[in-house]
């Protein structure tokens, strides 16, 4: 089917301005991805899947500038022992990074990766699978054009997490990063992702978790107010494997986080969670698609949004249970706490079930601070601001509790605390 002209034009316009790497192991995958982009067309506001979030600023050639964010706080997770991999404006920084050398792990920089078979089986492959039933053309654009990223293969559980650290020094940087992660049977890994990569970021992560393996992903999206981000995580889970991802987002003009999970082996577990804190010009969109295609798998989606001063939160979450995916346990909750009347939460939870022996539940709520509880706290001497903060932290806590590691949980709670403190009326 031919694309409508406005869409084809916008797509060609962008493609003609983006540089694409040449050669390397992903050459064919990139070429295929390019034709996917041309066939699908980049998103426009008329697309149903972009009903609540305007994609223009993620698509257009010109990058909306993002002022550099200055903070004297130590970067999050900086006390944690990890293998650090640093990207500045979307370019790998070898000097700032640790040696890409850790027992049990094989790491390559995407830009100069050797032709390893395992990466060929992932790069662009999981993204392609994630294009049906809903198209995600910005992910294909990423596969076609990403200039940097890492390929990580975990054969044995490493002794420390891998930390992808993003920084940006340009107000108009436009980065595309693509990471591939493969966790081999029995192994387990924690991947951290923190900071602002660029004024505009398109990041894609493809994760394959083999039988009995586990991948934990914890992400802290940078606090820059004007940054724009579209991210895609494509995860494929094999038998009895576990994938858990959590994202904390504070600030940012526009964030669209898509997570696409496919449970392909029996007894798999997928947890997708997130909390966002938005104040003012803030638009945050979580779009999740979980496919159960095996028996006895569990999936959980837990999303919490704190919104004030006109901030907007979006949640589109779907659980698809295919025929034969018996004993599926699917859970989805998305909630927003609106701290004033100007803020907005738009939610579209969906269930599509083709198996009969399943338990699936979903819920979505949106509300203000509970005035009765607020009075109770104040009647005990706790001032309005502190009482509101206590309840806000309590609201977010359910999502933060999805993070397995308690030390990471504490760091996240501190970030939430600090964000609230900065917004305290004097």
């Amino acid at each position: 089917m031919a694309l409508p002209k406005y869409k084809a034009d916008a797509t060609q316009e962008r493609l003609s301005h983006v540089s694409r790497p040449v050669g390397g192991f992903s050459e064919v995958a990139r070429r295929d991805a390019l034709s996917r982009v041309e066939n699908l067309g980049l998103p426009t506001r008329r697309d149903e899947y972009w009903k609540y979030t305007r994609p223009e600023s993620l698509v257009e050639v010109e990058v909306p500038p993002a002022a550099l964010f200055v903070s004297d706080e130590a970067p999050v997770f900086s006390d944690l022992e990890c293998l650090k991999i640093v990207f500045v404006d979307g370019v790998f920084d070898a000097d700032a990074s640790d040696d890409l050398d850790l027992e049990g792990i094989e790491i390559h920089r995407l830009a100069d990766a050797p032709d390893v078979l395992w990466a060929r089986d992932i790069y662009g492959v999981l993204e392609t699978r994630g294009q049906t039933p809903v198209a995600r053309p910005l992910a294909s654009l990423n596969t076609a054009c990403a200039t940097d990223g890492v390929l990580i293969r975990v054969t044995q559980t490493p002794r420390k997490p891998i930390s992808l650290i993003y920084r940006h020094v340009s107000e108009i940087s436009d980065a595309m990063l693509h990471h591939c992660i493969k966790v081999e049977p029995q192994a387990s890994v924690t991947i951290l992702e923190t900071g602002t990569a660029s004024a505009r970021l398109n990041v894609c992560m493809e994760v394959e978790v083999a039988a009995n393996a586990q991948c934990n992903h914890v992400r802290m999206q940078g606090r820059d107010h004007e940054r724009r981000t579209v991210s895609h995580i494509f995860a494929r889970l094999c038998e009895a494997s576990t994938f858990k991802t959590f994202t904390l987002t504070a600030n940012g003009a526009l964030t669209r986080n898509e997570v696409v999970v496919e449970l392909t082996g029996d007894n798999g577990v997928a947890h997708v969670a997130g909390a966002c804190l938005g104040d003012g010009a803030f638009h945050h969109d979580d779009t999740v698609f979980i496919t159960h295609d095996a028996e006895n798998c569990e999936s959980r989606q837990v999303f919490k949004k704190v919104l004030r001063n006109g901030a907007v939160g979006v949640f589109q979450g779907k659980i698809l249970v295919k025929a034969g995916a018996q004993k599926t346990d699917g859970y989805q909750i998305s909630q927003s706490l609106l701290l004033d009347d100007d803020s907005q939460f738009l939610a579209k939870p969906e269930l599509e079930i083709y198996a009969d022996d399943v338990i699936c539940s979903h819920g979505s709520t949106s509300g203000a601070i509970d005035e009765t509880a607020l009075f109770y706290l104040r009647a005990r001497g706790i001032d309005r601001g502190t009482a509101t903060d206590l309840m806000t932290i309590a609201f977010v806590a359910e999502a933060v509790a999805e993070v397995e590691d308690v030390a990471l949980q504490d760091e996240i709670t501190d970030l939430v605390d600090n964000w609230l403190m900065r917004r305290r009326e004097p």
């Binding site: 509970d370 509880a373 109770y376 104040r378 005990r380 806590a397």
Partner: protein
Amino acid sequence: MLEIKNLHVELEEEGKQILKGVDLTVDAGKVHAIMGPNGSGKSTLSYVLSGRDGYKVTQGSASLLGEDLLEMEPEERAAAGMFLAFQYPVEIPGVGNMTFLRTAVNSQRKARGEEEMSATDFLKSVRAKAKSLKIDADMLKRPVNVGFSGGEKKRNEILQMAMLEPKLCILDETDSGLDVDAMKLVSEGVNALRDADRGFLVITHYQRLLDHIKPDVVHIMANGRMVTSGGPELALEVEKNGYADILKETA
């Protein structure tokens, strides 16, 4: 200590008048009981004194230790020494009981310009007080009042009162829903706080609580005002004959 004069209050939204000229003085060291039929305005009085939204004072005044209560925010009233043990304690999911207690204690101290309580002192104090109220470690860890039984909620109120050491304690039907043992625990908790510098306002339907917490003065409230006052014998009379006779006499 507590001085209420000709207090008139209506519901902000409906404009319905609830308190129609309440006069009441509670002196330090004294226990006053308020009894009265349902709907006479007892809870409304306790909410207005502690600063809940939704009420409009149209006439009269209320002060605590000489300070105008009605001008203050709820948290300021608490720091000034006001405490209300709620008729229906509120559940606050996600906020741990300990965090709540500690934040409350230290917020009040800060507001009064006092030094905050250290973590160890606080723990010691909470543990001792919780023990005498038979509140176990698990209840302290759980979110405020979430999943607590009716009796546990009421004991938790008394624990907060013991930790905050207020000047004026209002207990709104703290006895309702308590079995005999819990009633004893709660009364002991209250009696332990009786002090020459502290006043109590005990709202109840039943004489039996007043067997444990001996009042100095008993007031009968009906239709938004105090209709009569007397000694402890007034509570016994209500217990025996109900309110009808008293209300008839004062009508």
